[in-house]
């Protein structure tokens, strides 16, 4: 009797934790929007020069790159993952407030550093909580839901911040961002009592295997996956800014609207299909989902190179949504497959994050360089070729990482 009652309570707690994670992802998606390219606009309206804005943003990028792997190791070593999320969210709020209160150099640099570092702890911590909440059999679905709600949060964030920036002020956007980090703390109460020892990746149950962090980082499947993710980001990151730039040149007064559609439509697609992608990965394996996501990249590049009709361009962005859903689910899922039992899940996630960060940075420079010399179509074709290379790499080198037999759910 008592056992049954305890089991029921636990079921309820799990259900509640699932909802809590949904809300957490939504609010985090919401907050992250404010730190995007909008920072550059805000600093410009505050009288910052191009050079100093570039310096501040580069500082953020460098800090994010340098801290990915150490931050992952740090999250691995802390068993209280909700505590990590709490601190990261408070850091986000502080960073947004620093931006809002006075955009002077020191405050902005500090804000960039705080935000970049806490991004590196927040993502892995949420992924680790998700593993604990979902259990091995439901990971795909759980990461699918994470991606869905993060994407909804992004969409709401973009709409809110666009409106506040337009009707109130650029500065108000950052006060709003800071304010939004408070409701994001509420779902944490539902996650605080999760038994993190249930999920081996947390590495706090004494199950740390012999191989240390070094061996984990040299794992063939992990390194291959990181290389695939880097190539994908190299081909993907500059695609949207480039098409936005092309649209601003060719489409008239409604260019901003078309660009907004190019940003929002993929978010809707991610929100719609991510859970299905997670289910597909559990049913058909990770390779097929990776290939599905990766092969959209060359198609998109070639279509952008050829198309000029804004309506068609917006429709092509559906492919961006498919790719984003696949990557959004597969990055934590494959990493969990590979590093799941080692106690180095977050460290490994950091490595993949670092690879993607490098890809994104190179993507912008490469595309800028090619676009300046040879024009937009050639730049898109170039991104398409990188996409083909990424797809071929997945096809030839990436092993299937799904456990060969379904893992039984570890419930008494």
């Amino acid at each position: 009797m008592a056992l049954a009652a305890r089991r029921n309570i636990r079921r309820l707690a799990e259900l509640s934790a699932d909802r809590g994670l949904d809300w957490l992802n939504l609010f985090v998606g919401n907050i992250q929007t404010g730190f995007g390219p909008y920072v550059a606009i805000y600093l410009t309206t505050s009288g910052w020069t191009e050079t100093s804005i570039g310096l501040a943003l580069s500082l953020g990028t460098v800090v994010a790159m340098v801290s990915q792997v150490p931050a992952g190791a740090l999250v691995d070593s802390i068993s209280n993952k909700t505590g990590v999320v709490l601190f990261s969210l408070l850091a986000f709020g502080t960073s947004a407030l620093l931006f809002a209160i006075q955009p002077v150099a020191l405050a902005v640099y500090v804000a960039e550093v705080i935000h970049s570092f806490s991004s590196c702890t927040l993502g892995p911590a949420i992924a680790a909580i998700s593993l604990a909440v979902a259990g091995p059999a439901m990971q795909g679905l759980r990461f699918g839901r994470n991606a869905r709600f993060a994407s909804i949060g992004n969409g709401i964030g973009a709409a809110l911040m666009g409106a506040v920036g337009y009707y109130v002020s650029e500065r108000a956007v950052f006060f709003l961002t800071a304010g939004l980090s408070l409701p994001a703390l509420l779902p944490l109460s539902r996650l605080a009592r999760i038994d993190y020892r249930r999920a081996a990746p947390c590495g706090n149950d004494g199950a740390k295997t012999a191989g240390g962090a070094g061996r984990m980082l040299r794992d063939r499947a992990l390194v291959t996956f990181a290389a695939c993710a880097m190539l994908f980001t190299l081909g993907n990151a500059a695609m949207l800014p480039l098409i936005g730039n092309a649209l601003t040149k060719t489409v008239g007064g409604e260019a901003s609207l078309v660009i907004a559609a190019c940003i929002v439509l993929p978010q809707l697609v991610v929100a719609a299909i991510s859970p299905a992608i997670g289910r597909l990965a559990e049913a058909n394996g990770r390779r097929s989902v990776l290939l599905l996501g990766f092969c959209t990249l060359p198609i998109r590049g070639l279509l952008f190179a050829a198309l000029t009709d804004p309506v068609l361009i917006v429709l092509v962005q559906i492919l961006d949504g498919v790719a984003a859903a696949c990557l959004g689910v597969m990055v934590p899922l494959v990493t969990s497959d590979v590093a799941g039992r080692s106690g180095h899940f977050n460290l490994s996630l950091g490595l993949v994050g670092l690879a993607m960060g490098i890809g994104a940075t190179l993507s912008t420079s490469l595309t800028g360089w090619v676009g300046d010399r040879y024009g937009h179509p050639v730049a898109f074709a170039c991104l398409a070729v990188i996409g083909i290379a990424a797809t071929v790499l997945v096809w030839t080198a990436m092993p299937e990482t799904r456990a060969t037999q379904p893992v039984p759910a570890p419930r008494e």
């Binding site: 909008y38 550059a40 606009i41 020069t49 002077v104 949207l240 007064g253």
Partner: protein, 180 residues
């Protein structure tokens, strides 16, 4: 389009230009807001070094002798100010000012279009196409050019050898005349 005076914003633009230079020289730190609204004129830059007492406590140097007022109602910084078109719709932000070798502003670089910072492009427009209203609290800048002309303009790259700016339509050579 009427042929308006060639000296836009009259004295205010002339006053604003050295202010901008001042700003640009302290690139990484100063924001336009922090720049004191005082115009430091040439000459008379001697300091009172000899007058300072030889004690260990550092003494702030006295202000320069030649200070002239720079009233905010008649002058304004332009970096980061919003640019609106003749129809009053927002076009972009002033991100840089290009000066010629005579020290006078030649063009303004405007970051144009985009959504939430994605997809904007920089173009240079002739300084004379801008109208300034320092008295307005938001310091909005009016650009006397249609959206279509801006849109078709080549992108401005600071270090490109063949940079171009959009000139006044009434001066456009026949080969590149803007068709209405």
């Amino acid at each position: 389009m009427t042929l308006v005076s060639r000296l836009p914003g009259s004295a205010s633009a002339v006053l604003a230009a050295p202010l901008l230079l001042l700003n640009a020289s302290s690139v990484s730190l100063a924001t336009a807001r922090d720049t004191p609204m005082i115009l430091l004129t040439q000459g008379n830059t001697t300091t009172h070094d000899g007058a300072a007492p030889s004690s260990a406590t550092p003494v702030a140097p006295p202000p320069p002798k030649n200070l002239e007022p720079l009233p905010p109602s008649k002058s304004t910084g332009v970096l980061g100010k919003k640019v609106v078109g003749p129809d009053g719709k927002e076009l972009g932000l002033v991100v840089d000012v290009v000066v010629a070798d005579d020290g006078l502003p030649r063009a303004a670089v405007i970051d144009f279009g985009g959504f939430l910072g994605v997809g904007s492009r920089k173009i240079a427009v002739d300084w004379r196409l801008l109208r300034f209203a320092p008295a307005r609290p938001d310091g909005q800048v009016l650009l006397t050019l249609g959206r279509a002309e801006i849109q078709a303009a080549p992108e401005y790259k600071p270090d490109a050898a063949a940079d171009q700016m959009v000139g006044p339509p009434w001066e456009a050579p026949p080969s590149t005349a803007v068709h209405k």
